[in-house]
């Protein structure tokens, strides 16, 4: 166990191990893989959101540069089964999905055919030689009417576009509303977002015809799940497919899914007898890689005059797009589960309606289901503040789950591991100088300026498993710890970090726990042939679950190493020794009360394989594998404050300050934690102010390129002001909670609240995100600048 140990590296700002290769151009991303004889393929995609495919003519593609063509009928025929789904919900219905559309396309971007050619350009050119005859069909784009009786049905065999409608309640919501002094209600939009990791997706496949062995290099957050899915679909044994993902240029959820291109790549490599590569264009990414968010939320909240939130009723529509994938359909169900946030509400009722539309499938995007929840409850808190004329901080404090209530079970069945919301909020208020800010705002308003202050206190669920929370994907992480004859340590982790920096944080854990130098630890990940089975990196689980798996393997290593050390020390002192007297400290195995008699990891490592002095009942080798599944989930939390100003003439919002106090339990490397927070904030702020996928009625993505979709740039942000509280989690021995998503989850409602706060004296109680200049300008035109109540 780490707790209580005198730490040297845990908690310190160690520079990253992964950086030297990445800052010199030596990273190994999928598109960097170059194989002898490698061909390229391109994918022909449906230009229609919904269309019958009458025929495909590939004759013209018999161009000399073209090495092979595959249509939907061919690739689907090659597959043993369609895409598997996990965590099937009770009563849900869903369409089968195959790698390509063979008879009907259901979203713009759905693969129709693939062409392999000798170069990237030739493959692209050859797409124009394929002729597809389509009959456009009526298009479904609106999630709220998708399941209505008079809406065209996308998958006829299902009879409707409903995936599931889940209604449930905890406590007695009707009682809460009967007892209330008032009710606030709102319709909140969660636009779809495009994840846009800077590395587009890519896949390279090699197929050995003589053995049937295949290798797939792919941009994935979870190589083992990718292998499981691809092997299943292609009817291959898993041990004949190797999946490699060494450096992955960001994922944010959109690289969890196994995509058609992985299946096509392997099938094409097999078909043409040459390795193949596919690399997505950015514009292709917009219609080929899953989106996130996409909900319409109806909330009613019952409150008392003193600001107490008594109960809530929620109706949540989730736009799943044309298909469910992996566990995408489950993500919207996290929204009601987390909707109580950090507040002790008991009565809550909810309906979640997942529908299919003619859009590219939706899936996880940083936060996945929890940002949508935090947005609801943190808007509700401000609506109650508006309605009762109280300060948003006071309303929050009034409703906090008490500091001594943890572990705390919410009415929605979540067990919050540990928290102290007051401490985090106090710190944030202090850093922000909250009272001064309010005074400043008053003065600004007198001068006719629009300044807003947004406050949120939020929590989220992460550190996934246990298995029950994973719907068939597995809730564990694996670690192999290997000490070699030189006493150096290699760790194979089943997690698959892609920017989070676990090559560094894991090495810190190992260095402290085994007492070896940080430089002596190598962390290997992202290769299914090297690493024991793993689950992967998503849901802020890598440190929490993967890090603990390493500690568990270390325990076995230390036990065996101590026995070997005992044998070596016995040989040294020419006497027998009670192994209990041999202790490992600072990387040396020494005899109690005889500090001069010691052996090193190098001596132990060497003996482990040389084996001449090993005790009789001891086998050679010094390697341990551990699989660890957490007993419960972790709940980091945060208190954030944003200060914004609005340009009266243009409606443009500028972010002046952002205070982020986050609690992710034990911190292994503060620098990495802060990096996760910075990046998370940028994504959450981007969602509040800039980003949204816009569709027309024909199901065309209007914001379909980086020219049309607003990604945040450096100029959008001030220097973020960070601090933390540390409330260790009791569910893992590290005490860590995970920090990958917390800041994204908090930032959107914080900035939204700040913007609405700036307008509240004009009578504005809600504006939808993204709060673009145009949208705010329109609000200003409609509300003028006359003061109409709201909070002071």
């Amino acid at each position: 166990m780490i707790a209580g140990q005198v730490s040297k590296l845990i908690g310190s700002r160690v520079k990253r191990k992964e950086d030297p290769r990445l800052i010199t151009g030596e990273g190994k991303y999928t598109d960097d893989v170059i194989l002898p004889g490698m061909a390229f393929f391109a994918v022909l995609r449906s230009p229609y959101a919904h269309a019958r495919i009458n025929s495909i003519d590939t004759a013209a593609a018999a161009h000399p540069d073209v090495l092979g063509v595959m249509t939907g009928a061919e690739i689907n025929d090659r597959c043993a089964e369609p895409f598997p789904l996990f965590a099937i919900l009770e009563g849900m219905q869903y369409p089968e999905r195959w790698p390509m559309a063979a008879t009907k396309a259901n979203y713009v971007g759905e693969p129709i055919a693939a062409v392999a050619a000798s170069s990237r350009a030739a493959a692209r050119d050859a797409l124009d030689l394929i002729e597809v005859d389509y009959d456009p069909l009526p298009v479904v784009t609106d999630m709220e009417t998708a399941a209505d009786a008079d809406t065209p049905v996308i998958f006829e065999e299902m009879g409707s576009n409903l995936c599931y409608e889940a209604t449930d309640q905890a406590g007695d919501p009707d009682r809460a509303f009967a007892e209330a002094d008032g009710v606030v209600s709102a319709r909140l939009e969660q636009p779809r977002l495009i994840p846009n990791p800077m590395e587009p997706r890519a896949a390279v496949a090699e197929y050995e015809r003589s053995t049937g062995n295949a290798t797939l290099w792919v941009t994935t957050q979870n190589p083992h799940i990718e292998r499981m899915v691809a092997a299943k679909m292609l009817g291959m044994p898993e041990n004949k497919l190797r999946v490699i993902a060494i450096d992955v240029g960001g994922g944010f959820g959109c690289k969890i899914n196994t995509y058609s291109e992985s299946i096509i790549a392997i099938a094409l490599a097999e078909h043409i007898g040459r390795p193949v590569k596919w690399a997505e264009d950015r514009t292709e990414h917009f219609v080929a890689t899953s989106h996130g968010r996409g909900q319409a939320q109806y909330v009613e909240a019952a409150y008392k005059k003193d600001g107490t939130l008594l109960g809530m009723k929620l109706k949540i529509y989730a736009d799943l797009g044309a298909y469910a994938q992996v566990i995408s359909h489950v993500i919207p169900t996290l929204t009601p589960s987390l909707s109580p946030g950090v507040y002790g509400i008991r009565d809550i009722g909810w309906t979640t309606i997942g529908v299919f539309t003619n859009k590219i499938p939706y899936d996880a995007y940083r936060g996945a289901g929890r940002p949508e929840a935090a947005y609801i409850i943190e808007r509700v808190m401000d609506l109650i503040a508006d309605a009762t004329g109280k300060d948003p901080v006071a309303v929050r404090r009034k409703n906090f789950i008490p500091d001594d209530a943890f572990p705390y079970e919410t009415p929605t069945g979540m067990i919050y591991d540990s928290a102290d919301y007051n401490a985090a909020l106090d710190k944030a208020l202090d850093i922000a100088g909250y009272d001064d800010l309010r005074a400043e705002q008053k003065a600004a308003r007198k001068d006719g300026k629009l300044m807003g202050i947004g406050v949120t206190v939020t929590t989220e669920v992460c550190g996934f498993g246990p298995a029950a929370a994973m719907g068939g994907l597995g809730g564990f992480e694996s670690a192999t710890v290997r000490v070699d004859p030189m006493g150096k340590v290699t760790v194979l982790t089943g997690a698959s970090p892609h920017g989070q920096g676990e090559e560094t944080s894991f090495a810190q854990i190992v260095a402290d726990d085994l007492g070896v130098p940080f430089e002596d630890v190598e962390i290997i990940h992202g290769d299914t042939s090297i690493v024991a089975r793993g689950v992967g990196t998503f849901g802020s689980r890598t440190l929490v679950v993967g890090g603990t798996a390493i500690l568990k393997a270390n325990e076995q290593i230390k036990d065996k190493a101590t026995r070997i050390a005992t044998a070596l020390l016995e040989n040294k002192i020419e006497d027998t020794l009670d192994p209990q007297l041999v202790t490992l400290e600072d990387g040396l195995f020494s005899i109690q009360d005889m500090p001069d008699q010691y052996v090193t990891w190098a001596e132990v490592g060497s003996e482990a394989y040389d084996g001449q002095l090993l005790p009789e009942d001891e086998q050679p080798g010094l390697e341990a594998v551990s699989f660890w599944e957490p007993p419960g989930l972790t709940f980091p939390f945060s208190a954030h404050i944003a200060v914004i100003e609005i340009d009266q003439d243009t409606g443009e919002v500028s972010l002046k300050r952002y205070v982020s106090v986050d609690d992710c339990g034990t911190v292994i490397n503060p620098t990495l934690v802060e990096g996760q927070i910075h990046g998370g904030l940028a994504q959450g702020i981007g969602q509040a102010l800039l980003e949204q996928a816009v569709w027309d009625d024909e199901g065309q993505l209007v914001s379909g390129s980086l020219m049309d979709y607003a990604m945040p740039f450096a100029q959008e942000f001030p220097m973020f002001e960070l601090d933390r509280t540390v409330t260790p989690s009791p569910v893992n021995p590290l005490g860590a909670k995970g920090i990958g998503e917390m800041a994204t989850i908090s930032a959107t409602p914080t900035v939204a609240n700040a913007v609405i706060d700036a307008l509240s004296h004009l009578g504005v109680t809600h504006v939808d995100i993204p709060m673009t200049a145009e949208r705010i300008w329109r609000v200003l035109q409609n509300h003028g600048s006359r003061r109409r109540g709201g909070r002071s």
Binding site: K15, R16, E18, D19, P20, L22, I23, T24, G25, E26, G27, Y29, D31, D32, I34, R120, A121, N196, P197, M198, E199, P200, D247, V248, G249, G250, F252, A279, D281, R282, T283, H498, G499, Q500, G501, T671, L672, E674, G675, H678, G679, G680, L681, A682, Q683, S705, L706, M707, M711, F713, A714, Q715, F717, M719, F720
Partner: protein, 156 residues
């Protein structure tokens, strides 16, 4: 019709025959195997492909290989000298200026030129100079700090 070009990349002269439509970035990556320069978009927005051509930082996805005929190109692979990191590279390592690292080579090449022209930029100037680069991971804060670190190091 392929064209013959001759380009000096990181001090080594290469003579190649390329299709006229080949982008400089694809020439560097696919022909020369210099995969440190990345492709992050197809609309000249992201800056992942930034290299230095004859002293100017350019988006190599927006330049044809034939346009670089006779030029001197520096890519991320050519920035460190004799195993010594360039101060901008050092800044990224010191200040945690990268996470996934995909945008990083392009941003390093951009900042390398920014600091050449303006050795002591303000925070605002640094942020402004990154208007052609997108990073999805870092929120830019530590990229700004990396630039400030490099600026200071280069003045020492």
């Amino acid at each position: 019709m392929p064209n013959e070009i001759s380009v000096t990349v990181n001090g080594t002269r290469h003579t190649s025959s390329v299709e006229p439509r080949t982008l400089l970035v694809h020439y560097l990556r696919d022909e020369l195997g210099l995969t440190g320069t990345h492709v992050g978009c197809d609309t000249s927005q992201c800056g992942a492909c930034t290299v230095v051509v004859d002293g100017s930082a350019v988006k190599s996805c927006t330049v044809l290989a034939v346009q670089a005929d006779g030029s001197e190109v520096t890519t991320i692979e050519g920035l460190a000298q004799d195993g010594e990191l360039h101060p901008v590279q050092e800044g990224f390592w010191e200040e945690h200026g990268l996470q996934c690292g995909f945008c990083t080579p392009g941003i390093i090449m951009t900042l390398h030129q920014v600091l050449d022209e303006q050795p002591d930029p303000s925070e605002e100037e640094i942020r402004h100079s990154l208007a052609g680069n997108i990073c999805r991971c870092t929120g830019y804060q530590n990229i700004v700090k990396a630039a400030q670190f490099a600026a200071q190091r280069m003045q020492e």
